[in-house]
C-alpha cells in the first residue's frame, strides 16, 4: 500500500521486467506497491507516468461487457488449456448459473483476473450449464465484465460433467489453483465449507511475484 500519499510523485519497480517506471499520485490506489517519492521528474517521464498508471493503477472492479466470449470445453480440452498456460499461475472457477454461491463468487473471480493479470495470473471459468442455456451464461458473464477465459462444459448438467471434472463431492462452486509448472496447488470445494473469496485471493497472491517499489537513487 502506498504510504506516502501526501507526496506528489512515485516510482514503481517491476521486478518481473526489471524496469523502473515513474507513476503519479493517480496510482495511489494501486495497492501492490510500496512507493518512494522523487522530487524532479522531467516532462516526458511524467507523460510516461500517466501511461504506466493506466496499467498499474487499473481499476480492478469489473465493468459490464455487452457479451462475454464463450467457448465449449470438456475435461481433456481443459487439460490441454492448462498445458498451454504453463508458466502462468492459473485459477479455474467451475460454476453454473443455477448455483447461487457460484454466481455470488463470480465477480470476485473476475476481479482477481483484473487485479493480478499483470503479475502472471490467468483465470479460466468453466460453466456447468445446459448448452441450450448458453445465452444466459454469456449474459451473466457479460454483466460481471468477465475478461476471464470463459468456457461452457459440453456435458450438460449431469453426473457425466461432475465425474469428468472429478468433483468428489458433486457440488459447485469448485475452484482449482495451479502453479506455473501446472501442478494443482489448492482446491476450493463448496462441499467442505462455503468458499471464502479472501482465502482464494491470499492463496493466489502468495504465488505471484510482488511488484517491488524501489527508490530511484538505488
Amino acid at each position: 500500500m502506498c504510504r506516502l500519499l501526501h507526496k506528489r510523485r512515485y516510482w514503481v519497480f517491476d521486478s518481473m521486467s526489471d524496469s523502473r517506471h515513474p507513476i503519479t499520485n493517480v496510482c495511489r490506489r494501486h495497492t501492490e506497491c510500496a512507493c518512494y517519492t522523487v522530487h524532479h521528474v522531467a516532462l516526458p517521464l511524467l507523460m510516461a507516468a500517466i501511461l504506466v498508471c493506466s496499467a498499474c493503477g487499473r481499476d480492478s472492479r469489473p465493468k459490464p461487457l455487452a457479451e462475454a466470449p464463450l467457448r465449449e470445453i470438456d475435461a481433456p480440452a481443459l487439460d490441454r488449456l492448462l498445458e498451454k498456460h504453463r508458466g502462468k499461475v492459473v485459477l479455474v472457477d467451475f460454476w453454473a448459473t443455477w448455483c447461487g454461491p457460484c454466481v455470488e463468487m463470480l465477480p470476485h473471480t473476475v476481479e482477481l483476473q483484473n487485479r493480478f493479470r499483470d503479475r502472471g495470473l490467468v483465470v479460466v471459468t468453466v460453466s456447468l450449464d445446459d448448452p441450450d442455456n448458453e445465452s444466459a451464461v454469456r449474459r451473466l458473464l457479460g454483466r460481471h465484465g468477465a475478461t476471464t477465459e470463459n468456457y461452457l462444459a459440453r456435458y450438460g448438467v449431469g453426473p457425466e460433467a461432475f465425474a469428468a471434472f472429478r468433483f468428489e463431492d458433486g457440488a459447485l462452486p469448485h475452484l482449482r489453483l495451479y502453479d506455473r509448472q501446472g501442478n494443482l496447488l489448492r482446491t476450493f470445494a463448496a462441499g467442505d465449507a462455503p468458499i471464502d473469496p479472501r482465502e482464494v485471493e491470499r492463496a493466489i497472491e502468495k504465488m505471484l511475484p510482488r511488484l517491488e517499489c524501489r527508490s530511484p537513487s538505488r
Binding site: 463431492d169 458433486g170 462441499g191
Partner: protein, 197 residues
C-alpha cells in the same frame, strides 16, 4: 515455534482429523443402511426407517427447497413414487438444510404445491445427512430388502428432464425388483452442496 503457531498447527491438525472422520462415514455398496428414528415429517409426526418395514425397497432422497437442481427433480420424484409405489418401493425425502427457505413450514408449502406423494422429513440436527454421507441435493440411496445400500448417487443423467437418456435410479430399482444386482451401483451425485453446520 511460538505458542500461537503451535496452537494454529494443533487446530489445523484437529480440523484435518475431523474432516477425515466425516469422510469415514461415507457409505459403500452392501453396507447396512444407517437407521433413523424420530425425524419429524411435514405431517408433524415422527418418522423412522422401521415405519417402512413393509416396503420391498426404500429410496432415501436427500433434497431441499432452495436448490434449483433439487427443484428440477421434484416432479420426477413424484412420478417415481407413482410408478414404483405399487411395486413395493417407498420413497422417503429428507431435508437437512437449515436455511430459511428449507424450514419445515416451507417444506409443507412446497410439498403441497408439488403434490408430494411420499414422506418429506426434516432433520435440523443434520445427523442423518452425516450418517449417510449425503453431499448434495438431490443425493439418493437405495436400500434393498435387507436394508443394505444397493445404489447411491444421481437420479438420472440430466438436470433437464427432457434430455434424460439414462434413468439410473429407475434402472437400479428395476434390477433389484427383479432380484438382480443393478448394473451400475454408484453414479456421481451432483447438485447443491448440503449446508452442514
Amino acid at each position: 515455534m511460538t505458542l500461537t503457531t503451535r496452537r494454529v498447527c494443533l487446530l489445523a491438525a484437529l480440523t484435518a482429523i475431523l474432516a477425515a472422520g466425516a469422510n469415514a462415514a461415507d457409505l459403500t455398496i452392501g453396507r447396512p443402511a444407517p437407521d433413523f428414528t424420530d425425524i419429524v415429517g411435514i405431517d408433524d409426526k415422527p418418522h423412522g426407517l422401521a415405519d417402512y418395514a413393509d416396503a420391498r425397497l426404500v429410496v432415501v432422497v436427500f433434497t431441499c427447497n432452495h436448490c434449483p437442481v433439487a427443484v428440477a427433480y421434484e416432479e420426477r420424484l413424484v412420478a417415481l413414487q407413482k410408478d414404483y409405489g405399487p411395486k413395493g418401493v417407498q420413497l422417503v425425502a429428507v431435508n437437512v438444510n437449515n436455511m430459511p427457505a428449507d424450514r419445515l413450514d416451507e417444506m409443507k408449502k412446497r410439498a403441497k404445491e408439488k403434490g408430494f406423494n411420499f414422506p418429506y422429513l426434516y432433520d435440523s440436527s443434520q445427523k442423518i445427512g452425516h450418517d449417510y454421507g449425503a453431499k448434495v441435493t438431490p443425493h439418493v440411496f437405495v436400500l434393498d430388502g435387507k436394508r443394505k445400500i444397493a445404489y447411491m448417487g444421481a437420479i438420472d443423467d440430466n438436470m433437464s428432464a427432457g434430455k434424460v437418456k439414462k434413468h439410473h435410479l429407475r434402472d437400479a430399482l428395476d434390477a433389484l425388483l427383479a432380484g438382480k444386482k443393478p448394473s451400475e451401483t454408484i453414479i456421481k451425485q451432483f447438485g447443491c452442496s448440503i449446508k452442514y453446520e
